[in-house]
Symmetry: C2
Subunit: 251 residues, 2 copies
């Protein structure tokens, strides 16, 4: 693992996602390594794709955070997903002529791109890949459904707790948390766009959390002091994802 090359690391990012539900064969590893283009570095604030752009490419996020957001008339924006390393960006707009979501780098990022033609060809040619990306898409649906439930049915405190727990759990899988400690490179304004609250109200709630001893803020970082309490506030049932389920028989 030590001294692995840049290309090697990128490949492992791809395997992280596409091997999530299915064991990867050596052949599939080979296949994945060549599907995505070379790593590209982009600065914070860079817009990978505006909404309305023709969705010609998908991106594999290798490093950094990216937001996917929708504009509503009245100038407001809803962030529908915070993408973390390993995520595939831009897939929801595959079946439409103009991209629905804007993709914006929240931190400096590294991505590898693939044309939608190449991506869909891979889906059609490689059953293992098809099953994998199909199940990933369903997982994303579940994530959106959970967020919708949170935003639609709970008050501010629960929403923010839910957002923190979601990011914490996902970062933990990536090995990027440590004793309740996690990176959080989001402004309070951005948190508001994520959970459907005004920046001012986000501030008051976060402040309450801190005074209640639930969290501790540092620069671009938070420490979750009472994860169980936060999880309970969010009030969502955690999902147990299946790996290599017996009911999938590949040809």
């Amino acid at each position: 693992m030590v001294g692995r090359s840049k290309a090697g690391e990128s490949a492992s990012t791809a395997e992280l996602r596409f091997g999530e539900f299915l064991q990867l064969t050596t052949e599939a590893r080979e296949f994945l390594a060549n599907l995505f283009g070379p790593p590209q570095s982009l600065a914070r604030q860079h817009v990978l794709r505006h909404d309305g752009d023709p969705p010609t490419h998908l991106y594999l996020l290798v490093e950094g955070w990216v937001s996917a957001s929708l504009a509503v008339t009245s100038g407001k924006q809803q962030t529908v997903k915070i993408h973390l390393p390993g995520d595939v960006l831009g897939a929801p707009s595959l079946p439409v002529a103009r991209a629905a979501e804007a993709l914006t780098a929240l931190t400096p990022v590294v991505v590898r791109s693939v044309s939608r033609a190449d991506f869909m060809t891979a889906v059609a040619r490689c059953p293992r890949f098809a099953v994998s990306v199909f199940l990933s898409a369903q997982k994303e649906r579940l994530a959106l459904m959970s967020t919708l439930a949170l935003v639609g049915q709970t008050e501010g405190g629960s929403r923010i707790a839910g957002m923190l727990i979601d990011l914490y759990d996902r970062l933990t899988v990536l090995g990027r948390t440590e004793g309740g400690h996690m990176p959080l490179p989001l402004t309070q304004h951005q948190i508001g766009e994520l959970v459907g609250l005004s920046p001012v109200h986000v501030n008051r709630k976060i402040r309450e959390f801190e005074q209640a001893g639930l969290i501790l803020r540092e620069t671009r970082t938070v420490q979750l002091l009472d994860i169980d309490k936060l999880r309970e506030m969010a009030g969502l049932t955690a999902h147990e994802y299946l790996r290599d389920p017996e009911w999938i028989s590949l040809p």
Copy 2:
């Protein structure tokens, strides 16, 4: 078209969905006809699946309306999707051990079921089917993203307008609207669970809509009197879905 058999009608329901993005081959038609089991009738209020149940099957909705909803602690519920004829029910829970969404018949319904094993085998064996269901899944993600944007960023009136327009457009594709007229077999409580408002507030807003001359209510039916105005209130950009895009090359 006249005097078509029950089985024939069911098959056409399947083709409606799976031929949405791709032309169906005769072979694929054959394939689809045998994938789903026989039509089953279920009464209104019947729960096809509780949340927490093992998600052993998917369902093709042939006739009627079905809601997919998530429970949050505090006893509230968020309806994440109103399913109409042609929809596939239950797919989001494919990758998890216990179903996240409950599926409830809002009207008397007819469904055809398929085991998840058979469904996933079809994905793995038939590239055309894989591409089709993959794109359908992305379309569902877009729908959820739009709903989330509506619920997260707009006030009550816009949310209800958005819900009406969404259902109107989907029913129109199915040929079930006529001059602004559409079926609406939802209680105001259910509308509230859909858009994140209390039943009382839903009532007041709907009442306002009626007094403003935007809609006209009849039993289990609404007439949209000013569709353009409602669409503007919703404030979401409509998506242009692609059929048989040139960038999909099948083996």
